[in-house]
C-alpha cells in the first residue's frame, strides 16, 4: 500500500507527539515520550512491546480514559486533550468499544444485559432498541443462542465474546483490546482471532495490545513500542488466516 492510497482512507485516530508523564513523588515517569501516528478506518493494528513500554498507557489515551500531558489526540477528527471528564465519558460511550483482559462482565447478569450496558448510558436508545442492538451484537460474535445465560454460567471464551459484543454494540469508531486473549487457552485464543479477523473484514477498526508476537501476523499493521516511543511501525503485507491456523491446531482430545 503506498502513501497515496492510505491518504484516501478516513483517519480514525491521529496522535500528534503525544506525551504522558506521571509524577510519582519527586520523580517523573515518562510512560509516553512523544508518539505520533495515524490509524485509518478498517485497519487491524497490533501494539506490542516489552512490559512497561507504555502499551496500556497508550491504549488509555486512545480510549479517552486519560488525557495526554502534551501533544494532541484526534478521535474521529475531534481533539480530545481539552475535553472535560464528562465530554470524554460521552465520547467513550459513542465512539469507543473496549475489550479487557478479564472480560469485566457484570456478575449475575445475563449476556444481553451485559451487552446492553453501554447503551444504557445513551438516552437515544429505547429499551426495545437496546435489546435489539444487543441481540444483534451477540449474534455477530456467535452467541445468538446464549442470550439469557448469566455471566457466571459461561466459559472464558464465551465471556470474552460477550465482552466483544458489548464493545461492538454502540457501533464504535474503533475497537480497543488490551490483552484480549491473555486469559484464554491457545485454541480459544485462535477462535477469538477468527472473530477479530471477521470483524476486520466487515470494516471495523481494531487496535489490539498483546504480548504475543504470533498475533501480529494476523493483523494488517504492527506498532512496536519501546520506552514510550515507537520503535517500529510496519504494514503486514500478507495477513495469515486465523481460521486456517485454528484448523491446523491439533484437535482437542475427547475422552
Amino acid at each position: 500500500m503506498n502513501e497515496q492510497q492510505q491518504d484516501k482512507r478516513k483517519v480514525v485516530i491521529e496522535l500528534d507527539n503525544v506525551k504522558r508523564y506521571f509524577q510519582v513523588g519527586s520523580e517523573t515517569v515518562k510512560a509516553l515520550r512523544g508518539v505520533s501516528f495515524k490509524i485509518y478506518e478498517g485497519e487491524f493494528v497490533t501494539i506490542q512491546g516489552t512490559s512497561g513500554s507504555g502499551k496500556s498507557t497508550l491504549l488509555n489515551q486512545l480510549g479517552c480514559l486519560d488525557t495526554p500531558t502534551s501533544g494532541e489526540y484526534y478521535l474521529d477528527g475531534t481533539p480530545v486533550r481539552k475535553m472535560s471528564k464528562n465530554q470524554r465519558a460521552k465520547l467513550r460511550n459513542r465512539k469507543i468499544g473496549f475489550v479487557f483482559q478479564n472480560y469485566n462482565l457484570l456478575a449475575k447478569t445475563t449476556a444481553v444485559e451485559n451487552v446492553e450496558l453501554p447503551l444504557m448510558y445513551n438516552n437515544k436508545y429505547s429499551a426495545k432498541q437496546r435489546r435489539e442492538a444487543a441481540i444483534k451484537a451477540l449474534q455477530e460474535v456467535g452467541l445468538g443462542d446464549r442470550l439469557d445465560h448469566k455471566s457466571n454460567q459461561m466459559s472464558g471464551g464465551q465471556m470474552q465474546r460477550v465482552a466483544i459484543a458489548r464493545a461492538l454494540v454502540n457501533n464504535p469508531a474503533v475497537l480497543l483490546a488490551d490483552e484480549a486473549t491473555g486469559n484464554l487457552d491457545t485454541r480459544t485464543s485462535f477462535e477469538m482471532l477468527v472473530l477479530f479477523q471477521k470483524l476486520h473484514q466487515e470494516g471495523h477498526t481494531i487496535i489490539f495490545v498483546t504480548h504475543n508476537p504470533e498475533i501480529a501476523s494476523f493483523a494488517s499493521r504492527n506498532i512496536n513500542l519501546r520506552d514510550g516511543k515507537i520503535r517500529e511501525d510496519t504494514i503486514n503485507p500478507n495477513i495469515k488466516s486465523a481460521a486456517e491456523a485454528l484448523a491446523a491446531l491439533p484437535k482437542p482430545q475427547d475422552d
Binding site: G63, A89, N93, F98, N123
Partner: protein, 408 residues
C-alpha cells in the same frame, strides 16, 4: 442514563445482595418501628385519657388549697389548709352556676374484714359526690344527709374492696357488713358499679366513700378539706362557675384586691390540656430516643454502602469506561441507599403497625397510630438515604476509571 434505568440498576443491586441489603435495612426497620410504636402509644394514651376525662364530666371543677403551683414553687404547709367548713357552707348558700358541691378529705390505709384486708383510699365526701362523678350504685343506697350530720360510720365501697374482703360477686352480701378502716368500723350501705382501671393504671374500684364529717372527725382528724369538688350547671357555664367560686372564696378568705388567690380552681377541660401536654412531652422524649436509633441506622447504611462501593470498584470502572459520568454513577449509589432506607422504612412502618395494633393492646396499653407519623417516617427515611448515601456515592463518582477497572 435515564432515571428509570438507574432505578432498575439500583433495584438489581439491592436484590442481588438480599441478605446484606436486609441487614443494612434492619436498623432502619427497628428504628422506624420504634418511632411508630412510641407515637402510637403516645397518641393512644392521649385519646383514652381525653375520653376518660370527658366521661368523668366536662363540667367538673376542683378547688385545691394553696396558690397556683404550676410555676413549681414550694408552698408553706399552712397554705394547704385554707379550705374550711365555712367556705363549703358559703358555696352552698350562694351558688348560682354551681350545681353539686362536695368537700373532700382523703386518707389512705388498710381496710379489714374478718381475716381479709386490703389497702385502699378513703374518700370523705358529701352526698352529692356520686352526682358530680356520675357514678351509679350497683347495690344498696348512698349515705344520707342525716349520716353527714351525725358523722355516721357508714360507707359506700367499690367492687375491688368487695372482691378483696368478701370474694368475687358477693356485692349483695357486703351490704350491712361492718368493715374496719384504721380501726374505725364502718357499715357498708352501698356498692358502686365497677369502672375498671383508668389510663394511669389506677383501679377506680379500689375506693371507699364515707361522709366527709366522719372522715374528718374520726379518721383523718383534721379541720380543713383536701379539696372541694363541684360541678358547673353546664359545661358552657364552667367559666362563670369558676368566677363565682373565686369571688365567694376570696371574700370568705378576706383577701385584699392585690393578694393572689390562696386556692386554685381547675376545670376538667384544663386538666385535659395539662394531661395532653404532659403526654406530648413524654411522647416527644420517647420519639427522640427512637429517632436516635435511626441516626445510628443511617450510619450503618453508610458503612455498608462504603463497603459495597469498594467491592464494586471494578463494576464502577467498567461503567465509567463505557460512558457513565460521575454524576450518573453517584446517582446510582444514592438511589441504592435511598432504596435501602425507604424499603427499611416501609418494613418498619409495617412492623410498627403490627406491634401497635396487636402487641401493645395485649400489654394493656392504648395505641393509635397518627397518620402523619407514617408520612414523616418515609420522609425521614428518604432523607437518611440521601444524607448517608452521599459520601459513598461521591466516593464512587470520584474514582479514576483506569484504576477502578484494574482493581482486584
Amino acid at each position: 442514563m435515564n432515571i428509570l434505568n438507574l432505578f432498575k440498576v439500583s433495584i438489581n443491586a439491592v436484590a442481588n445482595n438480599k441478605m446484606r441489603s436486609f441487614l443494612s435495612m434492619l436498623g432502619i426497620i427497628i428504628g422506624v418501628a420504634a418511632v411508630i410504636i412510641m407515637m402510637s402509644i403516645g397518641q393512644g394514651s392521649k385519646e383514652s385519657i381525653r375520653k376518660e376525662l370527658s366521661t368523668m364530666g366536662t363540667n367538673l371543677l376542683t378547688i385545691r388549697p394553696g396558690a397556683d403551683m404550676r410555676g413549681g414553687v414550694r408552698q408553706d404547709p399552712s397554705a394547704m389548709q385554707t379550705l374550711k367548713m365555712a367556705d363549703y357552707q358559703r358555696i352552698i348558700d350562694e351558688k348560682k352556676f354551681v350545681s353539686y358541691v362536695s368537700p373532700e378529705v382523703t386518707s389512705s390505709g388498710q381496710v379489714i374484714f374478718g381475716n381479709n384486708n386490703t389497702n385502699c383510699t378513703m374518700y370523705g365526701e358529701s352526698t352529692e359526690y356520686l352526682d358530680i362523678k356520675q357514678w351509679e350504685l350497683e347495690e344498696g343506697a348512698n349515705f344520707t344527709e342525716e349520716d353527714i350530720r351525725k358523722a355516721a360510720k357508714v360507707c359506700v365501697v367499690g367492687t375491688t374492696i368487695v372482691k378483696e374482703l368478701f370474694g368475687e360477686g358477693k356485692e349483695n352480701e357486703a351490704i350491712g357488713k361492718n368493715i374496719r378502716f384504721k380501726s374505725i368500723p364502718l357499715r357498708i350501705v352501698g356498692v358502686l358499679e365497677s369502672k375498671g382501671y383508668n389510663s394511669w393504671g389506677m383501679d377506680q374500684d379500689n375506693v371507699i366513700i364515707a361522709p366527709y364529717t366522719c372522715v374528718m372527725k374520726r379518721i383523718a382528724a383534721q379541720t380543713y378539706f383536701s379539696s372541694i369538688v363541684c360541678s358547673a350547671l353546664t359545661e358552657e357555664l364552667t367559666d362563670a362557675a369558676i368566677e363565682e367560686l373565686t369571688q365567694i372564696l376570696r371574700s370568705n378568705h378576706k383577701l385584699k384586691a392585690e393578694a393572689v388567690d390562696d386556692f386554685t380552681i381547675r376545670s376538667q377541660a384544663e386538666m385535659m390540656e395539662t394531661m395532653s401536654s404532659t403526654m406530648d412531652t413524654v411522647t416527644i422524649i420517647l420519639v427522640v430516643a427512637a429517632a436516635f436509633s435511626l441516626l445510628v441506622a443511617g450510619i450503618g447504611i453508610m458503612n455498608i454502602m462504603l463497603v459495597s462501593v469498594t467491592e464494586r470498584t471494578k463494576e464502577i470502572g467498567l461503567r465509567m469506561a463505557v460512558g457513565a459520568t460521575g454524576l450518573v454513577i453517584s446517582l446510582q449509589f444514592l438511589i441504592e441507599s435511598v432504596l435501602i432506607s425507604l424499603t427499611g422504612g416501609l418494613l418498619g412502618v409495617m412492623l410498627g403497625g403490627l406491634v401497635s395494633n396487636f402487641v401493645v393492646p395485649l400489654m394493656g396499653m392504648p395505641s393509635s397510630i397518627p397518620a402523619w407519623s407514617i408520612y414523616v417516617s418515609f420522609a425521614v427515611c428518604t432523607f437518611i438515604g440521601i444524607i448517608f448515601g452521599y459520601i459513598p456515592a461521591r466516593k464512587a463518582a470520584n474514582m479514576d476509571p483506569i484504576e477502578a477497572i484494574r482493581h482486584e
